[in-house]
């Protein structure tokens, strides 16, 4: 049985109550995923708004071929990636400050003693290619099972495992460069 499918069917009929219930269930997941991509609250909020607007508009087209969870995560990932592409284009055309000059991101949910180290992690995540970034965020920031990550990314479990291996290797390589800065400060 597809959990939350009844909510989607009600939303397809324009039921705002069902929409609010779905928001309450999924808003933290969507927002947390979004903020892991964009590293700031205003943009994460914009992405969250876009995601739920899309959920409402396209609820009638959802046929239940995947779980509602997978569907919403997919919309979130695609919306966040499009946002990053738009941001990159805007930065290129307006000669805005480079990503490396933006202040370090502190994830609001990280325990206090890990905040500084987590900011290095997110700085390193930013440098990953799209697919590795997505696999890492879903598996290690969202804490989703590998099989679910595979469904969201429409890939095989083996491919996801391979992506995660490469992501971790690249992250470690990047963190080696950050370490000397850490020691100097």
């Amino acid at each position: 049985m597809n959990e939350h499918f009844d909510h989607i069917q009600a939303i397809a009929q324009g039921d705002r109550k069902a929409f609010k219930m779905l928001y309450e269930i999924f808003s933290n997941k969507v927002y947390n995923t979004a903020i892991s991509y964009v590293h700031n609250e205003p943009e994460a909020e914009e992405i969250t708004q876009d995601v739920f607007t899309k959920v409402f508009r396209y609820a009638a087209k959802f046929k239940g071929e995947s779980t509602v969870n997978t569907w919403i995560y997919r919309i979130t990932v695609n919306t966040a990636l499009n946002y990053l592409k738009k941001r990159k284009r805007a930065a290129f055309t307006t000669l805005q400050e480079q990503e490396s000059q933006r202040p370090d991101f502190e994830h609001p949910g990280v325990v206090l003693e890990n905040k500084e180290k987590a900011s290095f992690l997110f700085k390193a995540i930013e440098t990953l290619p799209e697919s590795q970034k997505t696999a890492f965020i879903l598996a290690f920031i969202e804490g989703l099972p590998r099989q679910e990550v595979a469904q969201i990314m429409d890939s095989s479990l083996k491919a996801i495992e391979s992506l995660l291996q490469r992501a971790k290797k690249n992250l470690r390589g990047k963190l080696e460069h950050f370490y000397p800065h850490q020691r100097k400060s």
Binding site: Y23, S27, E45, T48
Partner: protein, 99 residues
Amino acid sequence: MENEKDTWIEEVMNSMHGSRRAKPRDGLFSDIERQLDETIRLDFRKRQWRMLAAAVVLLFVVNAYIVFSFTQNNSPQQTEYAIEGVSSQSLVSGYNLYE
């Protein structure tokens, strides 16, 4: 030194352990509903414009058909026959042969 660096790297890699999901602010759902209402309103407007455009096109096509039909019915060939018909009519009526 190398051990310290490796330890630091592993600590960074594990720094999200025990963290909670970030939560959006309380008023975000109201903003979403407002955005939704705006989107629905814009969709409705677009549909209205499309219907108007379709009506204008239909009107044009109907008018064009009427004009085309009219010009076909009143072509010179047909007019000639009409004139001939009128002329023979007046000739006949003019004679009153059987009075």
